[in-house]
Amino acid sequence: MWIPKWQRDQEAGFESPIPTQPVSNEEFVPRPQNRQQQEWEFRINELTDQNAKKLGISKRAFLKSSMGMAAAFFASNQVYGPHWDVAEAETLEPAATEEKFPKGEYFVFDVQTHFTDGVAFGVRRYGNAILRGMGISLEENPDQYSFPNFVKEIFFDSETSLVVVSGIPGREIDKDQAGNILEGRDRRGGILPSWLMSKAKKQLNGIAGGTRALCQGNCAPNHYWDRAKNRPDFPALYDQMEREVEQYKIDSWKWYCHTDPGRSGNGFRMDDEKLTYPFYQKSAELGLKVISVHKGFASQSRTLGHFAHPGDLEKTALDHPEFTFICYHSALKHGPSEPEFKEDNFFDPESGDFLWHADLMKIKQRHPEMNNVYCEIGSSFGLTAILHPQICQHLIGRNIQTFGADHVIWGTDCLWWGSPQWVIDAMKRFQISDELCEKFGYAKVTKEDKAKIFGLNAAKIYGLDAEQEIKKFPDDTLSQLKTAYFQQGGERDNAAYGWVRSQA
């Protein structure tokens, strides 16, 4: 029987400080948290209680400190095994963490960041029960997904230095019914349209006085459709492409092959010679040769989910060696909060394979010479790190083993998951176990590997001189604003709401 959580707690005489199951919005059956997650949360709470008392500070203050973050990883090790590089001392002394992971050690370039055009996206509520275990509670309102909060969460509350504002499925409308060309907001384009990403980029870089943001364009081969001929409306498509490259100054395309905002009647394959290859040709003419493509996380699709399979990268990458293809999410088929993630056929612990990621790996294994496909790890790293460290280790281990450490790209999918700092912390502390290294031949992930993953690889793709960019950051306005933010008492919100019962 469904029952409001507060009511259940009241009746049971036990007010759980954290929810032990995702809280449903009445449109899906709430799934219980598994035993390990429950235990993990319990241990974090216990450790927080204990250490906050020792230090004479509130639980809340403890949780928003580096000690709170360390406590979450320390408790994870107690439950899941020693996956994270964390010492008990770090849960009591901020200096211990600072010594081990000095701030600024890595250049963090996040190629998958989002905000919305004033819309509360709704996705945070699914991650909240999980993240709350780390002392993170995400608010669910338009402000929290807004551009100002984007700046705060990404640039002020995390170590991220540079971002790509990344697209969400949507199509701009070019003309009104009278045939007049539309501009700006009138072009619509969904909750994060190309014109808005472009404005955000321009605004951020303008105020910073340097490069702090790049942006993507949502235009894709099936977005403008000639229904009479049942093929792309190439003139309209090319007009939009020209607009996005020349006027919006986009740095990459962002494709969702399994969506059909142009009502073409279908998704599209990246290796479709009639539909997609003309797009490549036009894009090359325009001088843009970076394609970012959402692969995996297919349950969001209705009937077109199969278009999110990475199989079409093979032919297209081989046919277009001059292009760079960034495979978002590393083709992880289902996120850990989806029921299919827990099904037997999703992950094979014997082989280390998991759905669709294994297919992406096989492409590279078949074509070792193929050098223009990169594995991005947004959401797939962060969520598996928390919920299934073993899959997480296979994800990173296999990406590096197969594609090379210079072909793994940092992305977080934040703001969806709040400030990316917790994901950054997770990567800093990440390591592959001896057991998996021995069994699967993975190498330990070195600091050099992490530096490449965190930003050096993406900088190369986007033609940025990382060394030069890093030198500019401390003096630019955004850094000054960040300093002022902390001086004025700014603090990370993501750890400020831990254990809030009323939100359960």
Binding site: D117, G118, P142, P148, K152, D186, I191, K199, S299, H306
Partner: protein, 348 residues
């Protein structure tokens, strides 16, 4: 240099960054500008939403642009996504790959095996199965003339008519597209997407619904009228209706919120109702009662569309309406009359 990216509620900490009288202050003005103004609207949404007084109609007009289901599921992937993939509305027309039994049965069928590679979609399920392929034309499917039904063994397919089997280019558009596909234009009989998309029931969705769900038709918070709910479900589930203008058995360019019955003629006379088996009759009787303002019970009182069940109907108030399907019988307080009227084409 403000690009209009303004929060509805200024962030206190950002606002506290005000530093005046310094060169730095001029740049920080940028942040202040982010917080100084009111909220911002989404494109094309300047008008206050509300329920229209005069019901619109799209008969003879092009269908509007709308947010497609795949876009909807980008946000609703977790709540609606998993269930919707197996929901009967969604699978009413499904890719052949999604039904291994039929796909395997088709491949090994002596007469149909050679056609298997052409088949893209399956229509129907338990009593009748039809095979379809994509047309070269936009928004159309071609239907194979073979009348199939499942055999007793898994994957077994029985054919009820004789060869030669041909691909019919028109029948799906003429008879099926209105309710087995989305956004079908009655004039051209072309559809925009296979299966039933969110648009079919929720209409043209205002993106601001993320902040206020009452902006979406059939949202719980909106409390749509019984008439609107009846029209929304009725556009497909009133199977005895006919469009006056198109002559087709499905509604003419109906968009949720339109006045369905201005064009879609349905006989709600006692004789017409009596001629129908219980499943059809309860729909028509409910429609009649809503029309006559005798009830506020609607399809959604009993049916949960996203979950695909009718468990809630046990909670509906008892009335004579129940007796359409449940008859009292000797020895048993209620029996359920399972008679249905099958469509000759798809078996629904």
């Amino acid at each position: 240099m403000n690009c209009g990216l303004l929060p509805a509620r200024p962030n206190r900490r950002l606002r506290n960054l005000a530093v005046s009288g310094s060169s730095f202050g001029s740049r920080i003005a940028w942040f202040l500008s982010l917080t100084a103004f009111g909220g911002f609207g989404l494109p094309g949404q300047s008008e206050e939403p509300g329920r229209p007084e005069a019901k619109p109609s799209h008969v003879g007009r092009p269908l509007p642009d709308y947010v497609t289901g795949d876009e909807c599921l980008f946000c609703h992937r977790q709540d609606i996504g998993p269930g919707w993939r197996v929901n009967e509305h969604q699978t009413t027309l499904r890719p052949i790959e999604s039904d291994e039994n039929v796909a395997a049965g088709l491949r090994r069928h002596p007469e149909l095996g050679r056609l298997a590679r052409h088949v893209d979609f399956i229509l129907g399920d338990r009593s009748r199965i039809r095979l379809l392929k994509r047309s070269e034309r936009y928004g159309r499917l071609e239907m194979l003339s073979a009348l199939l039904r499942p055999g007793n063994d898994p994957g077994a397919l029985l054919v009820d008519n004789e060869t030669p089997f041909i691909w019919d280019r028109e029948v799906f558009g003429r008879q099926c597209a209105g309710c087995h596909a989305t956004a079908t234009d009655s004039r051209t009989q072309e559809f925009a997407a296979t299966g039933i998309d969110c648009y079919a029931c929720h209409g043209v969705v205002d993106l601001r619904h993320a902040n206020d769900s009452s902006l979406v038709h059939l949202a719980k918070k909106r409390r749509d009228s019984p008439e609107l709910i009846a029209a929304t479900c009725g556009q497909c589930h009133v199977r005895t209706g006919k469009s006056r203008t198109s002559g087709l058995s499905y509604a003419n360019n109906h968009v949720v919120g339109d006045d369905l019955f201005a064009d879609f003629a349905v006989d709600l006379s006692p004789a017409a109702l009596q001629a129908q088996p219980p499943r059809e009759r309860h729909i028509l009787a409910n429609l009649r009662d809503i029309r006559d303002r005798k009830t506020t019970t609607t399809c959604l009182t009993c049916h949960n569309v996203h979950r695909g069940d009718a468990k809630k109907h046990r909670r509906a108030p008892s009335s004579e309406f129940c007796l359409i399907c449940h008859q009292t019988g000797e020895g048993s307080p209620l029996t359920y009359d399972r008679r249905v009227k099958r469509h000759p084409l798809c078996g629904y």
